[in-house]
Symmetry: C2
Subunit: 402 residues, 2 copies
């Protein structure tokens, strides 16, 4: 390790220097070649077509359709608006079953679309548990909104079976899942629709942006109308809608990033492998392993910290890492049912969500991407191992200092 | 005139060449210095802070607060999202009184926020008629949403009096009105909140963007929360919200355009004056004159075509202009109550809206901005005069050709 780590005193949370001089974060933006980006912007200014379904948005949608092997890709100004419009386009009323272990936008989008979220528990893979979903179905259920957390596909066949059985729309929040597969097929083509995020923190970004993908021509048509205020032609509005448009500079960034996406993912994959190897055997640390048969974007390096085995809690480890300038992150903490307005709407939801409740105390996501070298990932893993071995001494020192 | 206009045959809708080799349009984007813009983007990439209330969004908000002399300016990803969040932030239920003579986004935003639009008629200035507003008030009315059409301030005192009398929120759609005044004070500081559009077609743009301005600290706080999913800190969501964030590249464009805004407005002002002088005395053509005591951005050159006086209808004149590559535009045609879903929701609304109904058959907006020289505006005005003088011959030829 680049820093001499012989005693707990060498930890930055005590008296040592931070392991890294600059902060490493989760979801630090990765962008493609800026010269290519600027060239696209120069072309844009010479056309003076700056937004309103411009040529670069069209090019982006076509490229995504090819890459994800899906009939329709519809670009939006951000992932949350994409989710909202995807939900509104279903023309449904009532309840939507959704995990609580997700970013709050998933649930806010349901509310914004005038629907009621009903939280379902997840399984050990962090994905919707179809048995829990089945228990959550009521006569008011209109849809299931699965989340492909960390780019892993939900248990789609079982969810589709439930949806068919109960006449529900099956939708996916694929915010994490660009360029990931399920049973060898790219995510994006399952259920009625899937919504992606192109936010700056995602593996593939357009500063702010989103996409809805679908195989359904009618839904795609409705989404395209709704994105542009319901205009069917210059003078005719045929339905409610809003402004969901992606601007041309955002599309220019996405097109540029798409050219580098495979290399971003290679870097992530290598770092994931280094983390895996270096964390192996540390008691109380589980690294979420991805199904090797699927393509993954490896944007998330997800640990579960078991307090008993590790000797300290996830939050205690987080405190140590942060002092070392390793800005690891809790996800999704607290889970959605413990945030407003959902906590007030359904204060008892936690009783139905034991896996969620337990997991959100254990999950820790580590930095990855071009900001760190393999040696950095090794150092981070070794630091975590050191914390496990010295957990007793560290805790004693905290108690002493308190 | 640059083209020889001795006979109706010389019109492009018959056998002539178009007056302009390239199209002139309404709302063609005007952007500031692209080198300055690219410099800002280079700084952004070196910071790698691409969105999430970055330094350029903060700088933009501060600059707007100074320019509009308002306590809070909150940037949004587009004007429609700004309107929606402005409405949601009022925490109201029920009906919102709004003109039908507006862009459909005004009304869609009311629907999207779970409220019911109630259309009110306008007066001869194209602005909400306070008497009509008063007649539209019911026990379910929660707010009045005035529109500062063409950058003209509504009759604010009378609307504020009605709002106070009936306990209503007074809000404004100021999409057109950046850098315009009312009673010498910049629009943006009236009512509870005002919402601006920074869309590419506006006098001051950020590709796509919007702003809400307010003097009210509590409303501003709520809007800032709602724009970012209701997060009050890293781990705490205190209310419903969404993604209303403006990205840094959009803010970079806005900051760059702000540096050129006064010169854009000067060009517009001069063109408006040329149009005014050159259109003077043409029977059946009224040019909407702005109150000379107020500051105006002059982004809209608004004609009313009186068919009887002019000798042909607005739509017939439009057809001639378009053939000459003058892409004048009807506004707001058809008005909102004649578009879906409002036509179906309130099929009788037109009976209450005689001024709206009549006006939207007469209004024609002409191109302005840096794309045209004063001589072009003169040519356009002279062409309109020619059409008036030759109206009988033109109509006869159309009938003959039909």
């Amino acid at each position: 390790m680049s820093k001499d780590m012989r005693s707990t005193a060498s930890l930055a949370c005590f008296t040592g220097e931070p392991l890294f001089p600059e902060t490493l974060s989760v979801g630090r933006p990765q962008s493609g070649d800026t010269d290519r980006f600027f060239d696209r912007l120069r072309d844009m200014f010479s056309r003076n077509w700056l937004t309103n379904h411009g040529p670069m948005v069209q090019e982006l949608e076509a490229a995504v359709e090819v890459r994800l092997d899906v009939k329709h890709a519809i670009a939006f100004c951000n992932g949350t608006v994409a989710l909202e419009m995807m939900l509104r386009a279903q023309e449904i009323k009532g309840e939507v079953i959704v995990p609580s272990f997700t970013f709050i936008a998933t649930v806010h989008a349901i509310r914004a679309a005038g629907l009621m979220p009903v939280f379902s528990d997840i399984g050990s893979t962090h994905l919707l548990d179809p048995d829990a979903v089945e228990r959550a179905v009521t006569p008011n259920t209109a849809a299931i909104l699965g989340v492909h957390t960390w780019g892993q596909g939900c248990e789609i066949e079982r969810l589709q079976f439930l949806a068919d059985q109960h006449g529900l729309k099956l939708l996916f929040d694929a915010a994490h899942a660009f360029d990931c597969t399920y049973r060898g097929r790219p995510l994006g083509g399952f259920g009625v629709c899937e919504a992606f995020s192109l936010h700056a923190t995602k593996v593939f970004h357009s500063f702010e942006g989103g996409l809805v993908t679908t195989q359904d021509d009618a839904v795609a048509h409705r989404l395209r109308l709704m994105r542009n205020f319901g205009f069917s032609d210059y003078d005719t509005v045929v339905c409610a809608g809003g402004n969901g448009k992606l601007s041309e500079p955002a599309a220019a960034m996405a097109l540029t990033n798409l050219e580098s996406l495979s290399s971003f993912i290679s870097v992530n994959r290598e770092l994931h492998e280094v983390y895996r190897r270096s964390l192996q055997g540390i008691p109380g640390v589980g690294l979420l392993d991805y199904d090797p048969r699927e393509r993954q974007n490896h944007q998330y390096v997800v640990l579960e910290i078991d307090q008993d085995g590790f000797g300290m809690s996830r939050d205690q480890l987080l405190r140590i890492l942060q002092a070392e300038n390793i800005l690891a992150r809790r996800y999704f903490y607290p889970s959605c049912h413990r945030m407003e307005p959902y906590r007030t709407l359904d204060p008892e939801a936690g009783h139905r969500l034991p896996v969620t409740t337990s997991l959100c105390e254990r999950v820790l996501v580590l930095p990855t991407g071009g900001q760190i070298a393999p040696i950095d990932a090794e150092d981070i893993a070794h630091l975590i191992g050191f914390c496990q071995r010295e957990a007793g001494a560290i805790r004693a020192r905290w108690e002493h200092d308190a």
